[in-house]
Subunit: 398 residues, 2 copies
């Protein structure tokens, strides 16, 4: 009998996508489903980016440089400078989405069996990349009561073993929306220097910081060798389908190593790079309108949620997600029930079960992740549905 | 001291790209360099494909389905049927280049330390994907004297260990251009069934088969669970920058497993998929002109090479590569010397050292891979250069 690899067997299915068949069944019954379960923004991709691709004028769709087009990397240096990150274009490898940047980081810094500490709840696909790279994610719990702030230094240090090679944060955070403070970043630096660890910083949502200015791990001083920035244009410009990200570090040896993985896969997508480079010509105030839109969505969402009896939702400082605690026992059951057995005015809502974002078994079962990727009118109706649903749900727990 | 992972350290640099600095230096001296070292075709990408992207009309550049757009996969079924491969669209996962299809195969079928047997010389990047997946490539030597035909069954079986999970071929072959016969594929089937192994078939160059019809591993009967097709549109349509490939198998369990790796990285590039889908509207005779062009290049190249004293070049049956044996001792030195110390009428030629395509140390040192990706006029001049160079080379060996 032909065998599937062990890693193939333990590779997790997407916890967000596993409810899709239930959503499809609901739609077939004629129920409108509000999709708050996935981070696909509804914001239009800047016309400038799409036009750059549409007006492209070449005859051969060639491989690009394995590190991405030099013109793009040079222009990115200016973008990063504008957000306070000083780097050279040789510190950048353009990747196929942020996903590949994470994989390059895991593979270049960790060997099979090595460990990366990540505050939980965390982006579920980190588990997938960890299985692909044969490394272990060691979760350190952050709590809804403190708004999902960085765990205390001693709690993080308690997770460090001889196999620990890195600490990773997503800032602002997916799924919690938490925006880490400069002080929290300084704590990470202290840990990294003391224990000789890499800091992996996934800053996909950098531009969506509402409560104060974003402080990047790349802005930490005297820790250049340790910091790796994993970036993407997917959310920044609502360009998820471009599959363009970046692996960035001032550690030359590390970039040279990641470059070998980049060479093996030849090059990142050419069209996406054209779109990404064009984005750098957007006006300086481009993000203002988007941020204002997300802020009003967030305010509406958080107000509505906290107005529901038994629901707690910390105010997220960034990204476009909120983790809410509901008066339920089993979020997986509840999210499926929403699609299978509930509707209100022929409408229902699709949420991501919180449990899928925790590494520690049993945690997050009362929580859901809500992506505010719909306009305020739709969000409001979706919250009407959720409110009714929580009153109707037969397994409600006070 | 922060450490680079072991796999990062052993990850090979591209043997093809390591001569690039010498080529750049040659150009700076004013020498024209004919690039026969890399598989970037000069054929124009079909206008139809680029126009489909340029005329695209959407407002949000969204993630696609993790397996790729369903419309694209359904149309691909027709393409494969047209070349004698019967599959369903659910057997297909669209990947980011053929590279990702190979990585998904390695990760889904092999665990760390497992082995895949590959006839050498082989595509050098297989080594890179093997390091990324933490598996071992076990080479079984094919020989220039037999035109790089599949090694005998007993030679392949001699390489099988308890850790062997798969046998892999590239057909037509990169770097040798060898087109495997139906009989050779049947031998692979016999081995796979007898020893319970996967057959990985990289058929990137399927459409460039000159000496007879291409027989795909997917056309083998009663071995459905074992066969994995790793495909790409990069060479087929001269669309390397699209980064679109495919992982294809009739083994449901295996496709479901690869799909989990596909979900983790979200989706393949959206623009590239548009181009790939458009390619399926090309007229049935589209490949005729390209094949005719490659055939005349091949004929010229092989004639010129075999006309040089001491040079042997088997006639490649497909792809756009030839492996030639030269009257030299050390191809790495010779290829560097061509760029550093030689010119003829202010021109020289860049070749890929054969040693980089062998897994067994010491093999291939008299060989070079020549990609016939330039038109016949340029190829002719490049061959003039090579002929002169072989006469001038101070370390020529008779």
């Amino acid at each position: 009998m032909l065998s599937i690899s062990h890693r193939g067997q333990i590779m997790p299915s997407s916890p967000i996508r596993k409810l899709v068949p239930f959503a499809e069944a609901a739609r077939r019954k004629g129920t409108r489903v509000f999709h708050l379960n996935i981070g696909q923004p509804d914001i239009e991709t800047p016309r400038l980016m799409l036009d750059a691709v549409r007006h492209s004028d070449f005859k051969v769709l060639e491989y690009s440089h394995s590190a991405g087009n030099e013109s793009y990397r040079r222009k990115l240096v200016e973008y990063y400078a504008s957000v306070g990150i000083e780097i050279a274009h040789t510190d950048i490898i353009i990747t196929t989405g942020g996903s590949e940047a994470i994989l390059f980081g895991f593979m270049s810094c960790l060997d099979a069996g090595d460990e990366v500490i990540i505050p939980e709840p965390f982006y579920a696909n980190y588990n997938g990349f960890a299985v692909a790279a044969d490394i272990t994610v060691v979760p350190v719990t952050s709590y809804i009561d403190s708004g999902f702030a960085l765990p205390r230094m001693r709690d993080i240090e308690a997770k460090i073993s001889a196999r620990t090679k890195a600490v990773m944060i997503c800032n602002p955070n997916n799924p919690t929306g938490y925006l880490y403070s400069r002080e929290e970043l300084e704590t990470l630096k202290e840990i990294a220097l003391k224990h000789n660890l890499y800091i992996f910083a996934d800053e996909a949502y950098r531009e969506f910081s509402y409560s104060g200015k974003h402080f990047s791990a790349m802005q930490l001083r005297d820790v250049d060798s340790n910091v790796v920035l994993m970036d993407t244009i997917s959310k920044r410009y609502s360009a998820c389908g471009a599959r363009i990200g970046a692996f960035i570090s001032r550690n030359r040896n590390l970039v040279d190593t990641a470059m070998k993985f980049a060479q093996a896969r030849l090059s990142p997508p050419s069209f996406g790079q054209i779109a990404g480079e064009a984005a750098l010509d957007l006006p300086a105030d481009y993000f203002d309108a988007t941020k204002m839109e997300y802020t009003s969505r967030r305010d509406l969402l958080v107000n509505r949620l906290n107005g529901m009896p038994g629901v707690i939702c910390p105010n997220p400082g960034g990204a476009f997600y909120a983790m809410a605690k509901l008066p339920i026992e089993d979020c997986d059951h509840f999210c499926q029930w929403l699609l299978e057995s509930f509707s209100y005015n022929n409408q229902t809502v699709m949420l991501a079960p919180g449990s899928g974002f925790y590494g520690t078994p049993g945690l997050g079962r009362q929580e859901v992740r809500i992506a505010y990727v719909l306009n305020t009118a739709s969000l409001n109706v979706a919250m009407d549905c959720l409110e009714k649903a929580l009153l109707e749900y037969p397994f409600r727990k006070e």
